[in-house]
């Protein structure tokens, strides 16, 4: 009774890298432990993959 499309399902993608930043409500930005703004560090964003279009998000499906 499984819908056809689910025959092609696979485990959701898990981010491999730990997220090295936390949200700062005062700045309204995520900051690294050394205080730098995470969004300005493109090398880091590429590494952690949090800006990537991926399937399987729990809350959003607009990739």
């Amino acid at each position: 009774m499984q819908p056809f499309a689910l025959n092609y399902a696979r485990p959701a993608v898990e981010l491999e890298a730990a997220i090295p930043y936390v949200y700062d409500a005062g700045l309204q930005l995520n900051v690294l432990h050394d205080g730098r703004v995470a969004a300005s560090d493109f090398a880091l964003l590429r590494e952690v993959g949090t800006t990537t279009s991926t399937a399987g998000s729990k809350t959003h499906f607009d990739d």
Binding site: M1, Q2, P3, F4, A5, L6, N7, Y8, A9, R10, P11, A12, V13, I19, Y21, Y23, A25, G26, Q28, L29, N30, V37, A38, A39, S40, F42, L45, R46, G49, T50, T51, T52, S53, T54, A55, G56, S57, K58, T59, H60, F61, D62, D63
Partner: protein
């Protein structure tokens, strides 16, 4: 006037835009509706023919009348983190928040009504056809026989979710996948299934459109790869900026105008002849990964769109800006 961003705290892609708004000196308030009624509060009164509303979050207070734009990025479920969350409280919070915001004169990226409609993939396919964009032959059906017949006409098929959503119990992803010619289609009867003729692609295209500005990126693909979904393919070639063909740009503009979207992330595949085939348009599609790889100024373009001043209010009868004749 202020830019209101509705998104979750961990949305570092939104941060890329906030950085530009801060640099331009544009006031920003960032709210996650999930934090109603914890860290986020609201109030609005309708008295003597006027509306006055306010939102507060993170120690900031903003008048709803003082909003220039609302960016709906990755908002959480309203009141989803309340002390005692419930479906009823979520509905109450959603009605209060979005109902008040709908009454503002702010510009939306994207308006919730347009966003909701734009998420329907069947609607996207039809709109793309009407706008003259090439759309691969597609079938959405619960009839196994229709699926079999379609596979006879188009032996090289892919299957993908109709909604783009993925099952969560347990969490799984359903990538666009090739369908073998001798497949048993009987399970099509158990759920609407979207089949599409596979385009033998030489590249994936992500076209990010912000207002009138188009920023296209191209990633070379292996036409014979078993993995057809670029989100699951090995890293391979990087995304690179590319031009939008003159045969495609008018259709894209028409699509966004008809869809009433200020932002859209289009997915195309490019075939061996250079034709861009429309796959979908994500009304809130990711853009950070494209900017990180290509250096295209997508975040800055979004910030500039959000920062634009409101157009002058039209003359109103008995209003202060009415010219007596």
């Amino acid at each position: 006037m202020t830019v209101l961003i509705l998104t979750c705290e961990e949305d570092v892609t939104a941060d890329m835009v906030v950085v530009h708004l801060n640099a331009a000196g544009i006031p920003v308030v960032r709210v996650d509706p999930a934090d109603l009624t914890g860290g986020v509060a609201l109030s609005g009164e309708y008295v003597h023919g006027r509306f006055r509303g306010h939102l507060s979050a993170g120690g900031r207070l903003v008048s709803i009348g003082g909003l220039r734009s609302v960016w709906v990025r990755r908002p959480g479920t309203p009141a989803g983190r309340a002390a005692q969350p419930s479906a009823w409280l979520t509905e109450e919070a959603a009605q209060a928040l979005y109902g008040m915001l709908r009454g503002s004169d702010a510009r939306w990226m994207n308006h919730p009504d347009a966003a909701r409609r734009a998420r329907h993939k069947p609607w996207q396919l039809r709109l793309a056809q009407r706008c003259g964009l090439p759309v691969p032959a597609t079938l959405i059906t619960t009839f196994p026989r229709a699926a079999r017949e379609f596979s006879e006409r188009y032996p090289d098929l892919v299957v993908k979710p109709v909604s783009g959503a993925h099952p969560q119990d347990p969490p799984r992803a359903v990538p666009t996948s090739r369908v073998a010619p001798d497949t048993d289609f009987s399970a099509v009867a158990f759920g609407p299934t979207l089949f599409q003729r596979r385009i033998s692609k030489r590249a994936d295209i992500r076209l990010t459109v912000v207002g009138d500005r188009m920023l296209a990126a191209r990633k070379t693909a292996d036409a014979d790869a078993d993995e057809v979904d670029v989100r699951f393919a090995p890293p391979g070639a990087p995304w690179r900026p590319t031009d939008v063909p003159s045969s495609i740009a008018p259709g894209v503009r028409a699509y966004l105008k008809e869809a009433e979207l200020a932002y859209g992330a289009f997915d195309f595949v490019e075939d061996a002849d250079g034709t861009w085939w429309f796959l979908e348009c994500n009304q809130s599609g990711q853009f950070g990964f494209v900017e990180v790889e290509t250096g295209q100024p997508i975040a800055r373009t979004i910030a500039e769109w959000l920062a634009r001043p409101l157009p002058e209010a039209p003359p109103r009868v008995n209003g202060a800006n009415t010219t007596a004749r």
